[in-house]
Symmetry: C2
Subunit: 334 residues, 2 copies
């Protein structure tokens, strides 16, 4: 159960794309995005459909870069934060690709990439697949908190759901940037009931996965160029570093968090940082994969982190549960 | 893309269990269930937690039958109908097993079994895993329609969400009952906007998957002892048979639908039949797997069918999308 999944024939990233909205276009990672819509509407009548359209555009852009069409995809894995993951279904059904719906909250990006890597390593003949995850600030606010028009105030621990989608095409053939190892997360009691402090609920899950990884691996944290978490934000990131330090593991120098990186602290009103299924996906596509491609990074651990809750469970006094999946991404670029 | 996934070393069912509530205990499949709670509460304070507890009990029972503990599970796949799949998270986190959250609505059972079969056929060393899916009538009514106390009327096309959970332990070793083939479904526009007629929205997806299967396979429908769909109900089943007949495929003699089988027609007030993530899971565990074990059935196609929608998407006038995943289950019992 504690074994790291190691790929004998590591699947590779063929292409990837990130799409974002207005806030994302003003953030530090903007240069690496493929497309922005400053209206956040993406030509749709509802925020919910706008999110679906972001996913559709991200996959279209990734397929274009791969010089491929949907006919070459054996399978498509996707998920989002909308109830019953409707954004992914609405946005992606026109591709007509065999579809695996995932729910991992904001952990969905890495959950999908690791699951797809396993599928491409199976004896069933699947060769090429894609992962798409998305989130939309306005759809998430309406669903999880209040409609925007209400103007609800948020505490400093709250995070800003990213309006973003990421798409990734993976292949079982040899390539430059490969997923060489992975670890599916366990569900961890975040010991938090405050839906405005999900970074801390997820930090415990990230700590659990990293402790499992380093106890099973022969590597120290310093062996990696970066150890990246999904969307813990500033407050959750600080807790993660403390939790690991208590157990004798120091990741401070290597650690980066996509939720911290996506926006400009203080200049953008995002409180503890970014969150959402699109957050780690957009950061992976816009920043980390290009750095692995150009050789600036060679070997990273990448985790997406999810808070497993809904408005009813929080209203009924349930603790927020967390999960964090991990992949190791290595580049052979000299 | 149209290739049937064929397992060179087909994973086997090690054990399985079904748990149900009051209506299920009165249905024709009751003898095959492992546990009922006539109160539908399973010792919990909320319907939502009762669903989580059903999943926990189902997995505990399946592990007991497998003479195994959670420590032997390399991975656990689960999903349900509650927003953000909270029932699965709450019910299963205490097992502490690496977890893949799925969302496929009522298709989740077969989605999970096929995904797990692929994982067990990968080169990553996973040997044993489990799938758990659940639904609870009272949690679903509150979330998708009205709280029970409202006493809302339902039209004849409506289905009754089953209060049921199924759990399945699969292994990569050789065994008597094996998943030999599979086909992940594509998302299909159900061309229906009525959330009280989901059987018809899903029937188009079931037809799509079966047409893909029979166009790629050398087998005729008559080669199978049974062709089982998840929860089309009476009305959706009738549409499926018509849709396939239009394309020259006749499955009437082999076809069974878990949603039709779970309750006694007319004696139980379930209108078009059962639905929910627990429906096909409970029917597979309580009826089909025992029949494959005793040799009454030898070779079946099993599909779970899902309607991909939420209350917002229906309210915004979106069509209900459908999906249907397929596995072929063969028994070597003489």
């Amino acid at each position: 159960m504690e074994n790291i999944l190691m790929f004998k024939q590591p699947p590779c990233f063929v292409s990837h794309a990130a799409v974002g909205g207005r806030e994302e276009s003003r953030g530090p990672l903007a240069d690496g995005f493929d497309l922005f819509d400053e209206t956040d509407r993406f030509g749709q009548k509802t925020w919910e459909c706008a999110e679906g359209e972001m996913g559709r555009l991200a996959l279209s852009l990734a397929l274009k870069k791969a010089n491929a069409t949907q006919r070459e995809l054996d399978v498509l894995l996707a998920g989002d934060l909308q109830n019953q993951c409707v954004a992914s279904a609405i946005g992606l059904y026109t591709f007509g690709v065999p579809y695996i719906g995932l729910f991992g909250a904001c952990s969905t990006c890495t959950e999908g990439l690791l699951n797809l890597a396993c599928l491409l390593s199976s004896d069933t003949g699947m060769r090429t697949g894609a992962v798409v995850t998305s989130s939309h600030n306005c759809a998430a606010e309406r669903q999880f908190r209040f409609p925007l028009e209400y103007g609800g105030q948020r505490p400093p621990t709250a995070q800003w759901t990213a309006t973003a989608a990421g798409a990734f095409v993976l292949s079982s053939r040899e390539g430059e940037i490969r997923i060489t190892e992975g670890l599916f997360g366990r569900i961890v009691d975040g010991a938090i009931r405050d839906a405005n402090n999900m970074g801390c609920a997820m930090a415990r899950a990230a700590a659990d996965t990293l402790l499992r990884y380093f106890s099973a691996s022969s590597h120290e944290p310093s062996a990696f160029d970066a150890i990246v978490t999904g969307d813990l934000g500033r407050i959750g990131s600080s807790l993660l570093i403390d939790l690991l330090r208590e157990r004798g593991i120091e990741i401070g120098e290597q650690h980066g968090d996509c939720g911290v990186m996506l926006y400009q602290f203080q200049k953008q009103d995002v409180h503890s940082g970014a969150s959402g299924c699109g957050c780690s996906a957009a950061a992976l596509s816009s920043y980390f994969l290009p750095k692995l491609r150009d050789g600036t990074l060679r070997d990273i651990l990448f985790l997406s982190t999810g808070a497993l809750m809904n408005t009813t469970s929080v209203g009924q006094g349930q603790n927020i549960l967390g999960i964090a999946h991990l992949i190791r991404i290595q580049s052979s670029k000299m």
